[in-house]
Every structure is written in C-alpha cells, then in structure tokens.
C-alpha cells in the first residue's frame, strides 16, 4: 500500500516530534510512508472561522498532492475530519477525502496493530478530541447509547506498563475550537481550565490525545496556571522506544 503522510501546519511548527513519532512508527510497522515536501495546511482554520472559500486553494493542493496514494495518514483528528467531511463540499469530485485517516484510525482499523514494542510506565489521562469522537468515530460518543469503545485506549493498552484513565466528562470539548480560542477567549479559557482540572483529577502524569491543537490549548492553560502535568500526542506513546 502507498501511504502518504500529511503533517499539519501546527505540528510542523510546534510539535515536530509528533510527526517524527508518526513517521518512525509507520516505518517500524513496515509501512512505506511518503512525506511529500511542500505541505502546509489542510485549510481547516480558515473554514471554521467562516472563510471556507479561502481554503479552496489549499484543498486543491492537498488533492493534487495526495490523490494517487492508497491512504493518507494524519496525526490529527481535526485535520483528518476536515478532509473527510468538508473537502467533498468544497471540491467537486474530491478523491482524497475517502483515503484520509487519522493515525489512530489507521493503526487500529487498517493495520489492525496488535502489538507494540514500547514501554510507558506512567499514568495517562486520555483526551478524547471532539473531531475524533463525533466525526471519525474513534470512541463511542457519551451522548449516544450502545456499547462503549475507544480505539485510542485499545492502542495505548498495547504499550507495556501504562495506566490509562479518562476524565469524568470523557468527551467534553476542551475549548480550543480554532479561532474560537481567540474570538471567545474567556469562554475558551474557562473550558480549558475545567477540562485540565478533570484530567489532573485522574492523577495522571500525562495528558494524551489524538490532536495537538487540543493539547496545545490545554498545555497553554496548564503553563499559565503553573501546573506540572505533561503532554504527549498518542502516537508519541505508541512509538515509545523507537
């Protein structure tokens, strides 16, 4: 299978180690993943702010870059969800939207990973990012009935020594929301503070999730509050030891 790797703009700029972990993990699992150079952004921030038309050139570029791959893997649920659900509305005959996967989905559903080499003897609290829960189906939304499942946790349990917790409100929004964080800074801050408090209450040393934008937001709040809790993207934990 030909796999293309898309590393979101903010991961490129702020959390490249998440990209590195993704790349190394896929390589370890025998996946021939290509990172086409010249990538920037999937277009989500402008669209969520209300300027979807401004995203079009980026959508077209993404389509050009990735349409011939079998899968496109992204270590970010919000970007993956945007490509999957919004691209078809922005671009006619979009091919890439069906091929795009968040890295957790890809590992869990496509590669069906059943073993991982790493150790992570720490307590982690899982941050179930909204796009992952309600758009990509990474976990069962708490609003709906039915059997509970969580692909993030399934994969984390493959790492030895780990203890996995979830906050009391398992999938309440952290309050980042892209431009929401700057347009409604007080509500965003309050949401972040509440979410952080719930994660901390689990006794975890690390907060982990499938999207760096949520983690960035919570980390920003944590540092402002002088809280010591650490942050890692899920893929970093899954790639532990590599």
């Amino acid at each position: 299978m030909k796999v293309g790797l898309f590393i979101p703009c903010y991961v490129d700029a702020l959390y490249p180690h998440v990209g590195v972990a993704t790349s190394k993990l896929l390589h370890y699992l025998g996946v021939d993943a290509t990172y086409p150079h010249g990538q920037t952004c999937c277009g989500q921030p402008m669209a969520n702010a209300g300027f979807e038309k401004m995203s079009r050139p980026l959508v077209e570029k993404f389509e050009r870059t990735f349409k011939d791959f079998d899968y496109v893997v992204i270590p970010s649920v919000s970007c993956a969800a945007f490509v999957r659900f919004n691209y078809p509305k922005i671009l006619e005959h979009c091919k890439v939207s069906e091929k795009v996967y968040d890295v957790v989905e890809f590992l869990h559903d496509i590669l069906k990973v059943k073993a991982l080499p790493g150790k992570f003897p720490h307590v982690v609290s899982v941050h179930n990012s909204c796009h992952g829960v309600r758009e990509l189906g990474l976990s069962s939304p708490s609003e709906l009935p039915g059997p509970r499942f969580n692909k993030i946790i399934d994969l984390l349990h493959l790492v030895s020594g780990i203890t996995v917790k979830e906050p009391e409100r398992p999938d309440e929004c952290c309050g980042f929301g892209g431009m929401f964080a700057v347009e409604e800074p007080d509500v965003s801050k309050r949401m972040g503070e509440d979410k952080l408090a719930e994660h901390i209450a689990t006794g975890a040393e690390y907060i982990t999730g499938p999207d760096c934008s949520c983690l960035m937001h919570l980390q920003g709040v944590a540092r402002k509050e002088h809280k010591n809790i650490k942050f890692k993207h899920v893929v970093e934990i899954l790639a532990a030891g590599l």
Binding site: I7, C9, D12, A13, L14, Y15, P16, S23, T34, Y35, P36, H37, G38, Q39, T40, C41, G43, P45, M46, A47, A49, G50, F51, K53, M54, S55, P57, L58, K61, C130, R134, E135, P141, S142, E143, L144, P145, G146, R169, E172, C173, G175, G177, M179, F180, A181, E183, E184, P185, D186, V187, S188, K189, R190, G192, D194, G220, V221, R223, K224
Partner: protein, 466 residues
C-alpha cells in the same frame, strides 16, 4: 475583536463560582438525559424516524395545516392565522377585549416570548399572569428567561423568597425552602386561575389528523389555566403540526427525556374542542417560518421541538449563560433561529461555538444545530457581519500557507517570538490567545526539516517534491 456574546460572556465569567454552578446544573440535566437514553435501546431509531416525520411534514406543511385547521373548525374551534408577531398580538388583544377579559393566565409559550406578547398586552391594560413557576418568578422579578425549559434556573432560593415576600405571596420572612416557596406560589396562582377570564397555552404538537392541540407540562398549569376560565387561546407556531397519533408517539417519547431526563412530562394534554359553554381559539403564527422553509441550508431548523437538550450539552452555553446571547432563545438552536430571524442583529452569537458537535448528537430530531452554525459562519461575510480582524487573520494565514517560501520563512523566524518579553507577547491586549494561555514554544527545526534526516535514516531516495 469582540463579538456581543464574547463581551457578555466575559462579564458573567467574572463570577467563576456562579458559572461553576450553572455549568454543573446543566451538565446534570445532560446526565439525566443520558441515563434515559441508555434505557431505550431503540433511541437512535426514534431519533431517525422523528427527523424523517418532521422532514415530511414540513415539506408538506400547507397540506397538514389545512387538514389540522379543518378538523379544528369542524370541532367548533376558531382558527386564526397571524402573519407576524404584530398581527398575533393584535389578534390576542381583540379576542380578549371582545370577551371583556382583564386577566389572562398562561402556561409556558416560547411563541409568546417570540412575539413580545406579554409586554404588548400589559401596556394595554391586560393583566397577563405566567403560571409556570419559573416564568412566574421571572415575571415578578422583571427578568427574561435564561433557558427555554428551565427559565429561572439561575435564580437562587433566596432571591425567590425575597421576591415572594415583597409581593405578599410569602408571609414567613427569610423562609427560602423550595417546597415552602412552591406552596406559596401554588396558593397565589390558585387565586389567579380562579379569577382569570381567559387561559392561554402554547402548543407542543398539533395533530393534523384529529385537530388535537397537545400541551406537555410538569406542573399541570396549562390544564389549570384551561379548566376554569371559559376562554382558551392557543399560540402555535406553524411548524408544530405533525401528521397523526402514530407520529406523536415518537415525539412524546423523545421530548421530555431529551429535555430534563424524565420519561415523560406529568401531563400530556390533548385539547380538541372548546369546553362545554366555552370558546377556543387557535392562532397559527408564521413570523418568518414561511420564509425559513425556502432556505436550502437551514430549513431543517424548523424541525426543532424546543426540548433544550442542545443548550444543556453545549459547553459554551453552560459557561456563558442564556443572557450572553442576543436572541430570546439561547444556545445552539438559539444561534440558528436568531440567524434565520434576523441575521444582522444576531451575528454576534455565531462566535459562541467551538464546533464540538455535541448538540448534533443530542438533538432528538437531527436538526444538527452545531453543523448549521458552521454554515452560518460561512455566510457572515455575505451579511456584512464577519469580524474583520478574524477575516484578516484568516486571509493572512491563507496567504502564508499558499506560498511555501513565505511559510518556510515564517517558521524559520517564529522562534524569535520565544524571546519576546512575556509582558509584550503574553499581554492579552495584543494577543487574545494570552487571555488564557501561555504562548507555545516555536521550534528551531520544524518537521519538514527533520524529515529530510529521517529519510536518510530510512535509506530512502529523495522524496516526491511538490
């Protein structure tokens, strides 16, 4: 860069304990709803079918309204059609003055709130008495509802006690026990029910096949309001009509579970005819609905059954309160309805959403209020209400992302920001991000630079260049 909602929310958030209480109250209601949902294995099927029944009914609305009104008229009910709020208020006034009514008791109706009926009638000498306890408390305190189902949830028992004492409804100074206060209201409202010349109700569902006006309450106030006064007036939005009893079963099962986490309201009353010796009027109100239906992106907002589940689950509503919104209905559905009704006036609410889509998951009829907010955002530019700073930021980002040289350069320069003094870069005046966060740290080597080393590590040839 502050929208109306953001400005108001800031003020409310200055009292963190109050917001904690507000947030926990509504989260509790969301939890109660969840508990109900786990007890109904067919819940998703109910939602899906309820949504389809509504889609069918709304897209055949004229047919069903015709059927509904025909039955009503056959049963001796007067049916009136109000184009807008103004016409509705005039109609109510005329009915009341024709019948020499000076006092009207009413049960909860968001429709009358929409039309500003109470103030209109009050200014013309009619005493309108709210009989839903929450609405009555607000009426006595001259406040507006903060939620469509539990409008006075933000009022403390002390405030209620004080108000009741002021109004002579409570004789025990300082007694703020909710049971005692409810009894005071019961006694006071009992006199109102007995004295009133007319009773007004809203309508949760109008059954086209039989002409039933269905009103759901926990207090029984709609029934009290219509069992003593001989004149019954129903205020009903056009979109409340549904085909038949088989359809009604779906909505009855979904409504209260979604709203408060109860399996049913205490009373689900069907009014088909006037009382013996009485008269009944049903006023069907358009007030824009016949226009909303033409909106290809947003007509499904008309499916809303006013349960309030979306606001209970909305993390933004819970932390900003109903008074942060410019429309009389708050929360996700309020943002959508406000934009349908008056986009220019209500654009300031559209920022009140992190697009978490929890509301989409709880809406019993798949209005998808959160997804609709995303669409409304795309249209703000067209209404001329897009935030110009946000637009500039978005434009700026798009420019940088579309030009790789600029992007690469920006990333190379970004680490400089790490050295800007906290007093400047961390100042909320310059950077709204810093209201709640410390700035993130920009790395010296972004991924696209490191990647080249990884490729060497893997022993790869140079990768595809764009």
């Amino acid at each position: 860069m502050s929208t109306l909602h953001a400005k108001r929310a800031r003020e409310f958030l200055k009292d963190p304990a109050k917001i904690t209480h507000h947030d926990q109250t509504f989260w509790g209601m969301r939890m109660s709803r969840d508990k109900m949902v786990t007890q109904i294995p067919e819940w998703e099927e109910l939602r899906d079918k309820a949504s389809e029944i509504k889609r069918h009914t709304i897209t055949h609305l004229a047919d069903y309204l015709e059927e509904f009104s025909d039955h009503l008229e056959k049963n001796g009910v007067h049916v009136l059609w109000a184009r807008d709020a103004k016409e509705f208020n005039q109609m109510v006034l005329k009915i009341l003055t024709d019948h020499h009514v000076k006092k009207m008791v009413k049960s909860k109706s968001m429709m009358t709130e929409e039309c500003g009926m109470n103030d209109f009638l009050k200014a013309r000498g009619i005493d309108v008495v709210e009989t839903d306890l929450g609405e009555r408390i607000l009426q006595l305190m001259h406040l507006k509802p903060a939620h469509i189902v539990v409008p006075a949830i933000h009022i403390t028992r002390q405030q209620v006690a004080h108000t009741f004492e002021e109004k002579g409804m409570s004789q025990e100074e300082g007694n703020d026990d909710p049971t005692y206060l409810t009894r005071c209201a019961r006694n006071s409202l009992r006199s109102e029910f007995l004295e009133a010349g007319a009773g007004m109700t809203g309508c949760n569902f109008g059954v086209a096949k039989t002409g039933d006006v269905v009103v759901c309450t926990n207090e029984g106030n709609a029934d009290m309001a219509t069992s003593m006064p001989k004149l019954h007036i129903v205020a009903m939005g056009l979109e409340k009509v549904i085909p038949d009893y088989a359809s009604l079963a779906f909505f009855q099962r979904l409504l209260c579970r979604s709203a408060t986490g109860q399996p049913t309201t205490t009373y689900t009353s069907h009014f088909r005819k006037p009382r013996p010796g009485g008269e009944m009027y049903v006023i069907l109100i358009d007030n824009g609905r016949s226009d909303f239906i033409a909106n290809p992106d947003h007509w499904e907002t008309l499916k809303c059954i006013r349960c309030g589940a979306c606001m209970n689950t909305c993390p933004v509503y819970r932390r900003s309160t109903g008074y942060s919104y410019s429309f009389f209905i708050p929360g996700p559905i309020g943002i959508d309805l406000g934009m349908l009704k008056d986009p220019k006036a209500n654009s300031g609410n559209v920022s009140a959403c992190s697009l978490c889509l929890s509301c989409d998951e709880v809406c019993p009829v798949h209005v998808n209020p959160g997804s609709q907010i995303y669409l409304w955002r795309q249209q703000l530019d067209h209404f001329g209400t897009a935030n110009s700073e946000k637009k500039l930021m978005s434009w700026g980002m798009a420019r940088v992302y579309n030009n790789y040289f600029m992007y690469d350069t920006a990333l190379k320069m970004a680490p400089l920001l790490n050295h800007v003094p906290e007093a400047i870069i961390g100042n909320p005046k310059w950077s709204p991000w810093c209201v709640g966060h410390k700035m993130p740290v920009f790395v010296r080597k972004p991924f696209h630079v490191i990647e080249k080393d990884l490729e060497k590590e893997y022993g790869k040839e140079s990768t595809t260049k764009l």
